[in-house]
């Protein structure tokens, strides 16, 4: 796949595949095109050549709101909550395309993310970083997606919150949702990954299971800090 912003090509031949129900982790140095890859998959950037498929259907350059209906969700890295809206309204916006009664789902989310239940009437902008990340992920779960794309879900979080978010991601995956995430904390992320993809300069460098990548001495030396 080739993609980029306007005229500049950032992805120059990336290839990745994820089975239903797996966790995939995209790692690599800054500027390798990790976020660009996620945005291209979600139809936020123009894919110039190549194709993207979701469960066998072609979704190359399909609009985000169509992808949301098809069971894909995306959590951006920054500005990923509606700051002036309450926590509950954020979740309602996640369910914007649903016309059925989704109260049971709202209750399940509050049970899975207890801090959000307490702060449901509070504007999301007043929450701590970790809680905002929970709102962002919970918003994406409101459509009950098959695949959730996470762009650096632990960026800027304290180690304690990082653990919590990784635990939440495992929980989401246990419910049968496939996860594809970009992660700065590659070592930790790869321990929970079924598939790992290490990108450099817009291309795959290594593609293997998370365990194998962690054991690969070359990967460890160049990308995981020894």
């Amino acid at each position: 796949m080739h993609a980029g912003y306007g005229g500049t090509l950032i992805l120059k031949g990336v290839d990745l595949q994820l089975q239903q129900g797996q966790i995939g982790v995209i790692a690599g140095p800054n500027g390798a095109g990790k976020s660009t890859l996620l945005k291209s998959i979600f139809g936020l950037l123009t894919v110039h050549s190549g194709s993207i498929q979701l469960a066998g259907e072609l979704i190359t350059n399909v609009e985000p709101n169509v992808l949301v209906k098809r069971g894909m969700a995306f959590v951006p890295q920054e500005k990923n909550v509606f700051e002036s809206l309450s926590v509950e309204e954020n979740l309602q916006m996640g369910a914007y395309l649903r016309r059925d009664n989704y109260n049971h789902l709202l209750e399940k989310i509050y049970a899975d993310f207890p801090p959000l239940a307490i702060k449901r009437k509070q504007p999301a902008g007043e929450l701590s970083g970790g809680q905002r990340q929970m709102v962002a992920i919970a918003r994406a779960l409101m459509m009950e997606p098959r695949l959730i794309l996470l762009d650096e879900p632990t960026a800027g979080l304290s180690p304690l919150f990082m653990e919590e978010i990784f635990a939440q991601i495992l929980g989401i995956n246990a419910d049968g949702v496939s996860v594809l995430m970009v992660e700065q904390n590659a070592r930790q992320a790869l321990t929970i990954a079924d598939q790992g993809f290490i990108l450099t300069a817009g291309k795959n460098r290594y593609t293997d299971s998370g365990q194998h990548l962690l054991q690969n001495p070359e990967v460890a030396k160049s990308f995981l800090g020894g």
Binding site: P76, L85, Q92, M93, Y96
Partner: protein
């Protein structure tokens, strides 16, 4: 005591009436800014156009209001609001949408809206000339003179039917808008898009529909403000520029992007105007006995003469931009 009634007539009632006009305009300006991120300078002209739609309907059916006991222009208001909403959507499709698709900077949108404003003013004059008109063709304007049941007060409270309709209608509109924005699915989507357009898109919100809804609300409210003001005073083809400045002042004072700030800002500007042009000598004269002899109360003592009323919102605008550029309710900075 009579002087206080005079004060109520000149300041309180007029302030509420003009504040309501500004509020309906400022809500539109602030919503367009919240969703589309540009200052819409053709907003005053949407008011003129809306008022002329209602006027045309009034000329066609001059007695339509008689059976309902309301001014015909007011009866035509819902139709004029719908027509202006469509008109605003058409403007967007013809001009603004094309610019958005090209990803132009906000300042280009502002310039385009000034172009649209001048064009609409030309169009209005082409069809309607430059003379003022009255909405009351087959009827007369009802003016209520209410005697107050207090001893010693002979002066009556004066309020016109259009003023009552204006205040009642704007309170109704503001209430409906409040529930729309805070309770309805679509209203929340509007707030979500104003907060974070990219995330709204990622959530599956159709941003194009939100943009259209914004023009519908802004156009309809502009028409309501234009018609109700014209009913109270007269329909002036050049009213748009005189309204634009106070409306922008109101939106900025309240905090651009905040509808409730816009309402508060509108009444503030409205009352500031009526207080500034009020002849304070009227209230001071009864106190002449207590004042030292060397103070002479002038015949006319107002902060600004009525002709220069427009300097008041301008003054407020500049003060707010210097001291609190985000407005009273912390809106987005223009």
């Amino acid at each position: 005591m009579n002087k206080l009634v005079f004060f109520a007539n000149k300041v309180v009632i007029s302030g509420f009436a003009i504040g309501s006009v500004y509020a309906m305009g400022a809500i539109g300006v602030t919503l367009v800014f919240a969703i589309l991120r540009f200052a819409h300078f053709a907003h005053g002209d949407l008011m003129t156009v809306g008022a002329f739609f209602a006027y045309a309907l009034t000329v066609l059916f001059p007695t339509a209001g008689a059976s309902l006991g309301l001014p015909t222009g007011f009866v035509m208001l819902p139709l004029a609001m719908a027509m202006t909403a469509l008109f605003a959507m058409a403007l967007d499709r013809l001009f603004y949408r094309k610019l958005r698709a090209n990803g132009v900077k906000p300042v280009v949108m502002v310039m385009a809206s000034i172009g649209v404003a001048l064009m609409l003013q030309g169009l209005v004059r082409l069809f309607a000339g430059t003379a003022s008109r009255s909405f009351f063709i087959a009827e007369h304007k009802e003016i209520f003179r209410i005697a107050l049941p207090i001893e010693g007060i002979t002066r009556k409270l004066v309020i016109t039917e259009p003023q009552i309709l204006l205040v009642v209608f704007s309170v109704l509109v503001v209430t409906v808008l409040h529930f729309f924005l805070t309770r309805s699915r679509f209203g929340k989507a509007m707030r979500a898009m104003s907060d974070n357009a990219d995330l709204a898109r990622v959530s599956g919100i159709n941003t194009q529909t939100v943009v259209m809804m914004t023009w519908v609300i802004a156009g309809a409210l502009a028409a309501a403000a234009g018609v109700l003001l014209s009913l109270d005073v007269s329909l002036k083809p050049d009213m748009s520029f005189n309204l634009l400045l106070p409306i922008f002042a109101a939106a900025i004072v309240g905090g651009v992007g905040s509808p409730f700030g816009a309402i508060a800002g509108a009444y503030m500007v409205g009352f500031a105007e009526t207080l500034a042009v009020f002849n304070w000598s009227v209230l001071l004269r009864p106190l002449a006995g207590w004042l030292p002899a060397w103070i002479e109360i002038p015949v006319k003592l107002a902060f600004v003469p009525t002709e220069y009323k427009l300097t008041v919102p301008f003054f407020i605008l500049v003060v707010v931009l210097i001291w609190r550029p985000t407005g009273m309710f912390r809106g987005k900075v223009l």
